[in-house]
Chain length 228, copies 2
């Protein structure tokens, strides 16, 4: 927040503001003001607002995906060969949830939450260039985890596994984004700042969903059957 170079300060400020307001609703003037930099610095260091957004994402996604794969590999070596579903899920979810752990700790307690929110928010953000950028970053990791889950869940169709990976990503992203709304809704019954509890809850839920029996193939609701 104080002593870094301008480029990093801009990345930090952009990360925070994108987390709070989203890409389209955040202006370069907000960012440079928060970063204590000149307005022109963004275009000087990054070229454009779009490139800045990509840089903000890229700074976090790489390490996260690296740690995901590292954890997944560690699972394969520790056990005989087959990893438990919950462990695979945890290898996938923990890195983004614990993103703050790998980052400068002096930023205070709100830092991890802010990072998480940025990640959740921007992963549902719209601009097509961000969409394709994220898809590219996810392709390899997604395939690796799909294979691991398929091995841990014999009998499940590939389509079902892909669907459920998507559900897990959604649950994670939405939670990171709206956790304080949930805290407010439940009268602080759910505490989003307790990352350990959140991770456990999310892993338990996702593993349970992953392991659920596949629905029957054919089914028609009310058109042919007079059920009610």
């Amino acid at each position: 927040m104080s002593g870094a170079d301008t480029k990093t300060e801009i990345l930090d400020a952009a990360e925070q503001l994108f987390a709070e307001f989203g890409y389209a609703a955040t202006s370069l003037r907000q960012i440079t003001t928060a970063a204590g930099a000149n307005l022109a610095a963004v275009n000087y260091h990054f070229g454009s607002k779009e490139e800045l957004a990509k840089a903000v994402l890229a700074r976090r996604i790489g390490p996260i995906n690296d740690e995901r794969l590292q954890r997944l590999d560690a699972l394969g070596k520790k056990l005989g060969k087959k990893a438990a579903v919950a462990d695979i899920i945890r290898a996938f979810l923990a890195p983004p949830l614990r993103l703050g752990g790998t980052v400068n700790r002096e930023e205070g307690h709100g830092y991890r939450q802010r990072l998480c929110r940025m990640f959740g928010r921007i992963s549902t953000e719209q601009p097509p260039f961000l969409r394709t950028f994220l898809a590219t970053q996810f392709r390899d990791v997604g395939s690796r985890f799909e294979r691991a889950l398929a091995a841990a869940l014999p009998g499940k169709s590939a389509a079902a596994i892909w669907w459920r990976i998507h559900f897990v990503v959604g649950a994670m992203a939405h939670t990171l984004q709206n956790s304080e709304a949930l805290a407010h809704l439940t009268g602080n019954l759910c505490d989003p700042s307790d990352v350990d509890a959140l991770e456990d809850q999310l892993v338990a839920f996702a593993a349970g969903g992953m392991s659920a029996a596949e629905p029957p193939k054919a089914r028609r609701k009310k058109s042919a059957l007079g059920a009610r």
Copy 2:
């Protein structure tokens, strides 16, 4: 698309464009052009862009929440008293997924998808006024389903149930938003236009996650334990 009054045409166009680009990234000029209306018509009929966004949401949320509660009540009456978790989940998920079913059918096959995307997108959208508006609309329905799930899941803590409702909402919203990205990623292995299959997959996943055992309370990861 053709014969309705201006107010409805604007609502339809805004719904579609908000679904595609989000609130902040969609301009009133895009909306009125798509609607075949004059730019000033938005402010005449709705007062402001914010009020238009609220109207777009309100038109769909009311019927959806009504049908959710109606399905939930139907469950309570049909069975002895206790509904299955999957049935409660389906009562919660089917109305937004099948939103298009209650709407003008002549719009074509893409219509339902578009509606779904709008719903998924705007439920993760940022502007604070939309956030609070959505939270207000969700409060009652959320409480009702929390109670129903608590009855169907004896032994689960209220916090766990709320967390998991949140996870389910996230899985749904993210899927509605990014389904075509998933289709592309998996080489059309997952077909988002097959609403029946999507509903079944999502219900199975969510019910499995809901029913999963709660994680143990205390747990510390790597700080105290030297597990690698």
